[in-house]
Symmetry: D2
């Protein structure tokens, strides 16, 4: 009757400081460990003989962070995958991390670099290890070069066409590396390509801009094979000022939280 199971430890908070050089180095991760495997008897019989405690998973994260002197998230998640994949009964390991970026103030002081966070998921099973990195919460807005027109109308359509609107989003992107032996330094180029394209694109829709952004990211980083973008449409609505004898020439907007459009797509590099 048990058709699927997974267990692990979520939100293991790990900060490592490397003071070996005058400029201290800081890495700030929140890690989830998840295991799948032959754990049926834990569920059906209350037999814990194969059940690595989630508390041990947490300890392992800290011990391996020390042993491997974690400096970059991707190789560390691979090391954690390798460790847990060797445990009896484990068929699949998924290690995910949220990384908080910090900007340097001086040799030993830092500030949060922005509202966005970086993400990484490493998955290891019989087919190998896959690394998917990304970022989330990068909020972008453009005041022009965004249109939405030419769409089909039905009995429930009231939206007026527009050729000049605000476009705003809180971007989430995840990309898949070709394999685990690439250099994992592509984040900066990918993010730059995404942001630059958002800013410069003449947009016919969020979908249209999403595609241009994905193309630019794939062009900027040959070591990735695909990218998935999730772009909520943070609608900014024109306020009707006519009742007050005022004309609103694309100047006064109300920013809305909900409802919101949500556009998602995956672009894969052609073979």
């Amino acid at each position: 009757m048990l058709s699927w199971n997974r267990y692990g430890k979520a939100r293991v908070r790990l900060v490592r400081v490397d003071k070996s050089q005058p400029d201290h180095q800081l890495i700030d991760l929140t890690i989830d460990v998840q295991l799948e495997g032959a754990f049926e008897k834990v569920y059906t019989d209350g037999d814990n003989s194969a059940c690595v405690p989630t508390d041990t998973m947490k300890n392992t994260v800290y011990a391996l962070a020390k042993k491997h002197a974690v400096a970059r998230v991707e190789p560390f998640l691979v090391q954690l995958c390798d460790h847990f994949a060797a445990k009896p009964g484990v068929s699949r390991v998924r290690i995910s991390a949220i990384e908080q970026p910090w900007a340097r103030l001086n040799a030993h002081a830092f500030a949060h670099a922005g509202a966005e966070q970086w993400t990484c998921v490493a998955t290891r099973d019989a087919r190998g290890t896959e690394i998917v990195s990304g970022l989330t919460g990068l909020v972008l807005l453009k005041t022009t070069d965004s249109a939405f027109a030419g769409y089909p109308r039905d009995e429930y359509t009231t939206l007026p066409e527009t050729h000049d609107r605000i476009m705003a989003t809180s971007m989430t992107a995840v990309w898949t590396y070709r394999n685990t032996s690439v250099d994992f330094g592509a984040r900066e180029q990918i993010v730059n390509a995404l942001v630059h394209t958002f800013a410069e694109h003449r947009s016919e829709s969020v979908q249209h801009t999403l595609y241009a952004m994905g193309e630019a990211a794939l062009g900027a980083a040959p070591e990735i094979t695909e990218i998935t973008l999730t772009l909520p449409n943070r609608h900014h609505l024109l306020v009707d000022l006519k009742p007050f004898g005022l004309e609103n020439q694309n100047e006064i907007f109300v920013a809305t939280d909900q409802p919101f459009g949500l556009i998602e797509a995956t672009l894969r590099r052609q073979a």
Copy 2:
């Protein structure tokens, strides 16, 4: 290069009041509409001729809520699926809802019934329509009848075995209905079975209790074919009072938010 795409409107807030009887009826839904289909040109060419605006999706939710006099979430989501599946190019429709339960105070006044919310996802594609209902955020705690022992130890294990601990969780459950023509009134029996089993089970682990809960739910509702339970382990740690000359006999605990164990499994009814 576009290997997958989906778009829609998220968080359409809908409250319907039926005042046709002395006891007013209230349904409170937050709905997401998501479409997949032949929308490539929207992305690649900025051609919106096949792109139903997400604003129209929102309008459609309100108009159909009026036309169909929505009273229960599952049939209404099926009606929305049918409507959007008939649009050109659409290959898959996913409508999800969060339902806020309200408890009656008198004929026309209500209070939030608890912290938990109900969920429903209806998916329609070429294979048919699937209905998955559930609930999330139901917080449960038991002060005894929970053990965790007999687990494997390795070089990173420090957890002491326990035969009497607090077990607490914030339950999420989703279950799949056999088909769309069943009566969708099973929620109450399922939730009662889950909660009763949590309360009465002599637990060897969260996994062990999860399985018993899932079995009870499948037993209580023949119209569901499987159930997935997600049980975070809200750890309550004994406070060490020895430095203060006090003995803590399972009395004083610190409730922790993170890290937390996370146990998930699906139980499927045997054919």
Copy 3:
């Protein structure tokens, strides 16, 4: 130059279980300790000789919870006030708590009783100790008996008058006890009076209903001297269905999060 200072420990999570009777008792508190006093040298000179560590405050909460067998929040906060007020230099102690209510399932299992939480603040200074209890997050809605009309109009008024609208709020209430020697069992009568009045009142405005609720609470509990109510107006707007050829007779609403009206007032018992 230092004109005011306060320091302490926030969010000390304390759960106490009393298993001395067959029906286990559970109290679940999140406590903040805040001290004011003659701590200038800590700030100006880096001299910590008068600075009780916030870590010690946390330990004290747990140790006193054991020693005093905390069973009800108000007397426990008074005990904490008395403890910290005796420390050198302290002129004012403020102890606040959020209490999570739990509903009993059986002798040893519990569920969150609702979305609301209870609050308590005890303050001790040279003038004595004051106890302010309350609750927050109790969400209420009525489908009729709520009007808003007769208000002044100016050049920026567009709101139509209404004689039948939805009224909804997430209530926060705090009330002050006459002194610290009263029985602190009034919460249930006060909440019942507030909720019953919300449900039954024929409302001309949120303000009008707030006042009736406050009066009812003061009437229900002679041991309180004043009550402050904070009532956000969770607007439910009629959806315009005319573009779809449908008439909306107070049936289909959109629930909005922001902006929202916010109505606050204090009612004090006349001497």
Copy 4:
């Protein structure tokens, strides 16, 4: 019996775009309007003849944003104060705003500038108008130059002294301007002084650093008369790696959310 009352509209979302120059200008505010005054009959009698609707307040924010071409938050809040103070019965107006800072990407595209937000509160009553500006959510961390020792010990003290710890906080600061006719351009100097001092100070405690930060801010901006700093102590705890045969030399930390120290103080410029 009504001893205090206040009402208004909260979270009015306003975005103004000025496209009059090649570089578009963007201001993004969330505004609360709150009025106190002679509104007793609204509460006691359901008489709305003096009750300006909160919906009108919202409209007024948008209309005045257009009329006054809002470009900086402080003067706009003063204009709103003046408008509402002229309404019958109003004795006190409080207008507060959260400002989202945006960083320019090109002439018409922007990104969230960081996780922090700016704040402003303008209050007008019979004594005049006061402006308090500030910021919140600026997260800072230093890896060294932070100690905590020499504190008093009692029966509940277990904290070891430290001469080298991580210090981290999420800063909230608010400062009061001398009057309403100053230039309100001091934010950048104040924030620079606060951040620079946090980074460079040799800290004996959070209090000690708070004071140095406040002094620096007062020194950097003669137009402010006082500053209040709220510094939660985001504890980073050394992980005990000894059970795993590893030594942790100030390298591996667990970042904790709760409990946390909370240090607050006001520094006022001496006359």
